[in-house]
């Protein structure tokens, strides 16, 4: 009914949009969200291939990707909170020196 | 025209079921508010609403009219899109969760448009997991409402309330795992069927085959964890600090006026109903009767309850003080008697109505306990609430999972 290539093209488009958001946005939280968007695009590709090949390994890997994304978001947002506290700004262009 | 109907029969029947379910749900919500006010009032030794219609039965109509006609101001400085989105999100998600709940085992005795019509809009393979997904998204309604109001009390109330909701969500989902291990499926119909085939103590059936009394391990711990966590999840007493009047003005819905407040209100009562449905389905056998299936004389119990209560309503109505009461109440009583008599005279309908009758009575019992707790128990303080959720409920639900798994292995299920 729906060929796998449709899902892969959608995954590529979402990944590209994630890269664009990563490059162009200046708020560090929005950059984090673009990383999550890229991970989601990759998850879509995994599930599409898992269905196409008839194996469930792709879906198991999707679960692992989700778990790793959760851990990364937790620690990353902790770092973001520290940056905001120390530099009073969430703009990545102001966080370009190691010294305050 | 008819061929179009028959070709898309499934879609049309589902749409009709959705509309019917929404209408029934809104009516039940309205009369649940009446029930709560009357019950809390009687617990506090006073009468509840009793002026607006016989026994205050038209009070929900008056409340609805008030919500529709009151002024709906939008405070300055709010984030307009999020301010308008939050109550919609809350209400929409709360209403969606009713779609997953099955209300009866058998399809309707008649075929409609050539299809068997089951009582339940969607029976998902991942039934209970889908319900948890919808509950997980419900946190956003409250967090966004608190934040977008651009005011400190709603922000504090919204953050506290959503932190409470995500803490108790974990305990709620873990406490259900025992039932899932026993039933072997996520689907709610399969969970009830597993309880139908279980045998309790001494092989007795009926009430002793429900999840809470039977199976490899009676799920008493799981039930208490689930019920307490679900009450905290729905922000009801005694866990309602984030929206208590004396603490935070009105919490996250301070800045919301008539209709948007009504949407939060309806969302809260609908999630109460959903939690009661879940408790009765997961732990108390759903639509299974407490009597063993071989005691078919208990099939007359619905009529036995309806007819005397209908006669009592007629008798009470004829002595009522206002003229409206003397007209409406006997009408309601006569309707109840007529339904009870119809059930005795039509055995096919009686057999069909057994399942939904028991499920609805169990839901009613849980709603009664919900309202009873609101009228009786004092509130938790916020830090007590959080430590209760993380330090007591979550470990207890994990212990329940381990014990159930151990019992399954040991007893060889």
């Amino acid at each position: 009914m729906i060929p796998t290539s449709y899902y892969l093209v959608l995954s590529a488009i979402l990944f590209g949009l994630g890269v664009v958001a990563f490059i162009f946005k200046r708020n560090v939280i929005t950059i984090f969200m673009s990383i999550e968007l890229m991970l989601n695009a990759v998850n879509l590709a995994f599930v599409a291939f898992s269905r196409a090949l008839g194996q469930l390994d792709g879906q198991v890997f999707v679960l692992f990707v989700i778990v790793v994304a959760a851990a990364e978001a937790a620690v990353g947002l902790g770092i973001v909170i520290l940056i905001a506290r120390n530099r009073q700004s969430l703009n990545v262009e102001r966080v370009d020196l190691l010294k305050l | 025209m008819t061929s179009f109907l028959y070709a898309n029969a499934f879609l049309i029947i589902t749409l009709v079921k959705i509309v019917l379910m929404l209408v029934i749900l809104l009516t039940v919500n309205a009369y649940l508010t009446w029930f709560e006010r009357k019950l809390v009032a009687h617990i506090q030794s006073r009468w509840g609403p009793h002026r607006v219609g016989p026994h205050g039965l038209l009070q929900p109509l008056a409340d609805g009219a008030k919500f529709l006609l009151k002024e709906d101001p939008t405070p300055a400085g709010v984030d307009r899109f999020v301010y308008f989105l939050a109550p919609l999100l809350s209400l929409g998600l709360a209403m969606t969760s009713i779609a997953i709940i099955p209300f009866g085992p058998d399809p309707l005795p008649w075929l409609i448009l050539g299809q068997k019509v089951y009582l339940g809009i969607a029976d998902l393979n991942i039934g209970i997991l889908g319900l948890f997904a919808i509950t997980a998204l419900g946190v956003y309604g409250i967090a966004l409402a608190g934040w977008s109001s651009n005011s400190k009390y709603p922000l504090m109330g919204g953050l506290r309330s959503s932190a409470q909701m995500i803490s108790y969500e974990l305990a709620m989902t873990m406490s259900v795992v025992g039932v899932l291990l026993t039933a072997g499926s996520f689907s709610l119909r399969d969970i009830i069927d597993a309880q139908k085939n279980a045998h309790g103590i001494f092989g007795w059936q009926g009430i002793f085959s429900w999840s809470i009394f039977a199976g490899p391990l009676p799920q008493i711990l799981g039930f208490f964890c689930f019920y307490v966590a679900a009450i905290a999840e729905t922000n009801r007493a005694p866990f309602d600090l984030p929206e208590a009047e004396s603490e935070l003005v009105a919490g996250f819905h301070t800045e919301y006026a008539s209709f948007k407040f009504a949407m939060f209100f309806i969302a809260e009562y609908t999630s109460m109903i959903t939690v009661s449905c879940l408790c009765s389905i997961l732990f108390f056998g759903g639509w299974l009767s407490p009597f063993p299936p071989s005691w078919t004389f208990t099939f007359y119990l619905p009529s036995l309850i309806l007819i005397p209560s209908g006669l009592w309503v007629i008798w009470d109505g004829l002595r009522y003080e206002t003229i409206w009461g003397r007209l409406i109440l006997p009408g309601i009583g006569a309707a109840l008697v007529a339904i009870g008599a119809a059930l005795i005279l039509l055995p096919a309908l009686n057999n069909f109505i057994q399942g939904p009758f028991w499920l609805l009575s169990k839901i009613f019992v849980f709603l009664f306990v919900y309202v009873w707790m609101r009228g009786t128990l004092p509130r938790f303080r916020y830090d007590q609430l959080m430590s209760f959720g993380w330090k007591l409920l979550l470990p207890v639900s994990l212990v329940n999972v381990v014990l159930t798994a151990g019992a399954i292995l040991w007893r060889g299920y």
Binding site: M1, I2, T4, S5, Y6, Y7, L8, V9, L10, A12, I13, F15, G16, L17, V20, A21, F24, K25, R26, I29, T30, F32, L37, N40, L44, V47, A48, S50, R51, L53, L56, Q59, V60, V62, L63, I66, A70, A71, A73, A74, L77, G78, V80, I81, L82, E93 | F81, V82, L85, L124, N125, I126, F132, A133, A136, L137, V139, A143, W147, I166
Partner: protein, 167 residues
């Protein structure tokens, strides 16, 4: 144009629309809401492919926990509208066409490929959760335990990072 294809296009349009909105919005909370829309539509796509457990986990974990974390942090840090700085016009001129070109190359390569895998149609058959869990707890039990350890480390890290200094 049958029903599954229509549903696919609707969900795909929602996902792409959400992603574009994430880029176009100035306030991070609106970007977060757009990302939630993307995740829910992706969960719908997983359901369309029959991966129902993954769809439920996506909504519960991604949509109900990770994004809630993002929304909390945005609220607590009081993140405001992005300020307009004059840096990096080069990124604007060279970046967007490059990103579009990369995406276009990948999409074209996928769409033109003759590989048999790519034209296997996604049937509506449902992936049973039981087999998924058997796979997870037998072949993949070692990575599973490692991820639980990873979550523990992440929890400890987040707590240590977010503590205030006791000076």
């Amino acid at each position: 144009m049958n029903a599954p294809l229509l549903v696919f296009f609707v969900l795909a349009a929602l996902a792409v629309g959400g992603a574009v909105n994430l880029i176009l919005q100035k306030h991070p909370i609106h970007s977060a809401l757009s990302l939630i829309v993307v995740m829910v539509s992706l969960a719908g796509l997983y359901l369309l492919m029959g991966a129902e457990f993954v769809a439920a986990v996506q909504i519960i974990v991604y949509g109900g926990a990770i994004m809630v974390l993002f929304v909390f942090v945005i609220m607590l840090l009081n993140a405001g509208i992005e300020e307009h700085t004059n840096f990096s016009k080069l990124a604007g001129f060279a970046g967007i066409p490059l990103a579009l070109a990369v995406t276009g190359f990948i999409a074209a390569a996928v769409a033109r490929s003759n590989d048999a895998v790519l034209s296997v149609s996604q049937t509506g058959a449902v992936a049973p959760t039981k087999e998924l869990s058997t796979l997870l707890f037998r072949e993949f039990v070692y990575p599973f335990e490692l991820t639980s350890f990873l979550i523990l480390i992440a929890i400890l890290g987040a707590i240590v990072l977010a503590q205030r200094e006791h000076s």
